[in-house]
Point group: C2
Chain length 179, copies 2
């Protein structure tokens, strides 16, 4: 006699995301997730391979949500930068996961598409990939440093973000940036 399903894969991922943002990576235990979805820990293994896979799925969910936001943003680098930053603020713990080893690299490729499009509009198709990597690396590094509290030497962090964004765009506009 089939037992009715008492939870689901999406419910588990959503619960894990909440717990991660509330209690950090150390608080993201199988027990905590199971309790939140109303099940016992061993039952999770019916839908998730193990804790690493669960974490990877959470990272993928965060990236996929970012992708949607990027696709609905303005198609210039400045708009994408603001959306990216807002997403990092909204899910700081999830953001940290995005570029971790077990992260879902395929979903990152999808998130990259709008960035490459905006870069292409600025520097042309030949340089678009290099330019997108410059922009993404800067934004990712900046947000990670900002979220981890690494900006401790004074100064206005918002202004530093604007400065970086404007300098990068200015540098890309220069033909000397070509390969």
């Amino acid at each position: 006699m089939p037992t009715p399903e008492r939870t689901s894969y999406p419910a588990i991922i959503a619960a894990a995301r909440e717990i991660l943002e509330e209690n950090g990576p150390a608080g993201l235990t199988m027990q905590a997730v199971a309790t939140r979805v109303g099940v016992r820990a061993p039952s999770l293994y019916k839908r998730v391979k193990d804790r690493d896979a669960l974490i990877a799925a959470v990272a993928e969910a965060v990236v996929d949500e970012l992708t949607v936001r990027l696709e609905n943003a303005g198609d210039d680098l400045a708009s994408l930068a603001l959306v990216y930053r807002a997403h990092a603020y909204a899910f700081p713990e999830g953001f940290r996961l995005m570029f971790t080893a077990s992260a879902p690299l395929a979903s990152l490729d999808r998130a990259a598409a709008p960035v490459i499009r905006a870069a292409s509009a600025l520097v042309g198709e030949a340089e678009a990939l290099d330019a997108a990597r410059l922009f993404t690396a800067w934004a990712t590094g900046f947000l990670q440093m900002e979220l981890s509290g690494a900006f401790r030497l004074g100064g206005d962090v918002n202004q530093a973000f604007d400065y970086g964004l404007r300098s990068i765009i200015a540098g890309l506009r220069r033909p000397s940036g070509a390969s």
Copy 2:
């Protein structure tokens, strides 16, 4: 009767660093460190508060070593970028720790000094901090993405690094980058 010391704080940190690079964060257990320094796990707590403090100390050691390398490098951003990248390649796991929550922020401040000096030479003292943050954010993000295998869309990664470096310097040279 005092028992002779069978290990030391530096030996513990060095062992932890080796284990981290060999086996990753999950392999960095108190047991593994204790075994490597020739002691039992409980003895580690005489010199280290707990595992988090041990990890933070490892991160600090990696940052301090980077600081020495930066201080001995050429005092322009291109030289600093190469040194930074070489350090990330040499200690990829340690590099990941540098901007983690429990990371040693004070030691990061010391590593920032040579970068700010090089930035100041390029854009002047007033913009030096903003420019240093642009450069550091880009380099950090780029290396993190490179080490995590996030560059999957083809293209030459070394060329992308050069392109990013040259574009940033070109953008900083422009007066329009000023605040």
